[in-house]
Symmetry: C2
Subunit: 248 residues, 2 copies
DNA sequence: CGCGAGCTTGATGCCGATCAATGCATGTGG
DNA sequence: CCACATGCATTGATCGGCATCAAGCTCGCG
């Protein structure tokens, strides 16, 4: 796949149906490693898609849980909030990533999922997924992997929030984003942020002003070129050094 | 079950075998909600136990993943570390809680699990758990619930690390601990910490001095009685107010 | 008894929060 | 098409919470 910069959001029609087996995300999404047989069954299960406009919520904390959602196109954030109103962005999800795993434990969602651009998700009815993954061990295994990796990802965020300084947090965030974009065929050095400074700050445990200042600092140091939400990475090594050899 | 304060750690013999079906943790652990039939099969699967002395590691980041572990007695911490040596405690696990879920995603563990007191764990061979949970949907469901709840718990920690101040973090930590101890029949107001100030600090994203100062502050304010690791909660309401109505 | 790990407490400094003003891009209605 | 509103981003000045550095203290244990 040729590297390209991110496209502008496009509206998607419900009727424009794409089977998992022919979806260009099948190597990133739930179908990874499935045989043709189980892939066919998955195709039948994932029968409906849902369009979510920019700013709309896919689900909200407290909503009943029935389905998982796989991002087909677009971009989401998830956030939890405390009783006194503070909220924390817990993740950003792009094409091929799963939303809704939080709902399994209590049969109701515990976070909000909001589209940051016009998006389309595949609806995966959870009870059917349970049934199917009892039948196909590959599917079971892949599903467990996805949940486990989500736990590992969360641990990484905890490390970031618990022990990194502002510059390191932002560097780690940018590297993580570009890595995931690259896996989807986008450029490793140019990206368009789909979220505000405030949302980045919430995710990283920083205030929006600090995020903005840190972007400016990175620009002054020749690490980035920052034009609003257009980011170009000029010196990836320096970014890496910030995250790791942070003692220097 | 009568409320009691926590007992001192005791050594456990490998041979002292307890079946899941007659384990006093079955209402907190993997067997929750299982029928007799599947419970019997689980008993066969969880054939071995393992003693882990205080300070020893149950598994380490990078170790190959084969089994999950259920804490039978004792107390553990898990921690991840970044390449430059900083590490972050990601959780504390007590009786009935599962360890090792992080290993499923990549077939190797991504964190260290260390016993904070002499402990015993039940070894749950993962491939057998997969097989069995394809057979028994209740087991499958319970396992998925446990993973999902771990994700939700992690989100809660992210909220704590991202947006709470030191006092709120420590209050939330204490309330969470007592709640879990209470579910195991211990007192809701008296507890013995099994971890150092430094480990608490690592978990909460604070330095040990800050943890210590905050304990002292709570004591001055009549919220706690603190004698080294012996904690008595004198005013639970004030603790709750710290976590929630944090604006005051 | 004396050692050492862990805990407490104090003095000081820094990073990021807060408050505030301005700039910039997009969109809308007159 | 301009004037204005609005949402988001940038930048500066100041403040405060927690980290850092440093010194004793406590308690369990060889």
């Amino acid at each position: 796949m040729v590297a390209m910069t991110q496209e502008a959001p496009r509206p998607h029609l419900e009727s424009f149906k794409v089977a998992c087996s022919s979806c260009n995300l099948r190597e990133l999404c739930l179908p990874v490693g499935l045989s043709n047989d189980s892939l066919d069954r998955l195709d039948n299960m994932v029968a409906t898609r849902r369009n979510v406009s920019r700013g709309d919520t896919l689900f909200r904390a407290g909503d009943g849980f029935q389905s998982l959602f796989a991002v087909r196109t677009g971009f989401f954030k998830t956030s939890v909030s405390s009783e006194d109103g503070r909220d924390q962005v817990t993740g950003f999800q792009m094409a091929g990533e799963l939303l809704g795993l939080d709902g399994i434990g209590t049969d109701s969602h515990t976070c909000d999922a909001i589209a940051l651009e016009d998006s389309q998700v595949c609806v995966i009815p959870y009870s059917q997924l349970e049934d199917l993954s009892r039948e196909f061990s590959e599917l079971q295994r892949q599903f467990h992997r996805i949940m486990s990796r989500e736990i590992v990802r969360d641990h990484g965020v905890m490390l970031l929030l618990g022990s990194m300084r502002a510059e390191e947090r932002l560097a780690a965030f940018l590297l993580n984003l570009t890595q995931r974009l690259q896996a989807r065929g986008f450029s490793a050095s140019a990206l368009v942020l789909r979220m505000t400074r405030e949302e980045i700050g919430s995710y990283l445990g920083l205030k929006l002003e600090t995020v903005s200042r840190t972007f400016s600092k990175f620009q002054d140091e020749g690490i980035l070129e920052v034009k609003q939400r257009q980011i170009r990475i000029l010196d990836q090594d320096k970014l890496h050094n910030l995250v790791n050899g942070a003692t220097c």
